[in-house]
Symmetry: C2
Subunit: 182 residues, 2 copies
């Protein structure tokens, strides 16, 4: 792989299953993988253009039924090799940025109520995200026997497990802060 862009691997991974437009790719990223990865048009389109030039993907059926242009991308053998190479490298950067924790850490600069408010906001966020994941999980149980779905199932389970741990922590944090004299 020439460049050191993570978005390239995300795109290749998605294209491995099916041909997609840039817009489709964005939808996939905002869908079932959004709780562990993000990506914007500003990185997707340039990456597609670059990878097309260097032969990792190719344009397929620039469909112009009617008038509107729509560019479907297809992964090449070179692209598949790059994807597999990345999967084989025993290394992974897991970058977490919890603004909630940052605010809590600096909590001493404000009153206890502010800290509690931020924890409650976090709790609400987590609860709604968790509800979405549980729906994914229910839908998956019906097709669990299909070979490829096991990997999707594992990531969804990961999300649910961590979100449940967050909620438990929220409960305890509220108790500790609540039972603390100002």
């Amino acid at each position: 792989m020439a460049k050191d862009r993570k978005i390239d691997l995300v795109i290749l991974g998605l294209l491995f299953h099916e041909d997609l437009t840039g817009y489709d790719i964005k939808k996939r990223i905002d869908g079932g993988i959004s709780f562990f990865w993000k990506g914007s048009f500003g990185s997707i389109y340039p990456a597609l253009a670059d990878m097309e030039k260097s032969g990792y993907v190719e344009k397929r059926g620039v469909q112009t039924k009617g008038r509107r242009e729509k560019i479907l991308y297809h992964i090449t053998d070179k692209g598949i090799d790059a994807l597999k190479e990345w999967l084989n490298v025993e290394q992974a950067a897991n970058d977490l940025k919890y603004e909630t924790m940052l605010k809590l850490y600096f909590g001493g600069a404000q009153d206890k109520g502010t800290a509690l408010k931020n924890i409650r906001y976090f709790e609400d966020q987590v609860k709604s995200d968790l509800a979405v994941l549980r729906v994914y999980q229910e839908n998956l149980k019906k097709v669990m026997d299909q070979k490829d779905h096991i990997y999707y199932y594992l990531t969804v389970t990961f999300g649910i497990d961590t979100y449940e741990a967050y909620l438990k922590w929220c409960g305890r944090a509220k108790k500790i802060l609540g039972g603390m004299e100002e």
Copy 2:
């Protein structure tokens, strides 16, 4: 706050407790808050220069004992206001990027062994990070009565809780993948 830079708030939050050099700030970020926030020199130094110009921080005691320059930064009232304003806003972006989950999600492109290898690598990472956090927690228990430490304690607890959830998931994921026919 003029610009929309998160690093500004991190710096202000750290400077609220004590005057620091850019290098000190980097050390603090790499220390007890590294598991929920990151920051590089490439963002710290430009942010300090900007914030000094706009009056959020000021240079203190450009110590030149001997010869070597060392710039200590001090938070101003304007800086404290900006920090408190941020803490009061009921909003927080928690951005998670787990390359491990990404690889697992695309696992269908490779064999089961590769997926297992990546889970084991993740497990090792988590175990060593968890050990560090437990040491932090032990040290904190001794000073838990001190008012400001409660916030630090809560963030450390959050890290431990989530890492423990990760480990439980790793165990189950290995079982599920292990008991799966290729």
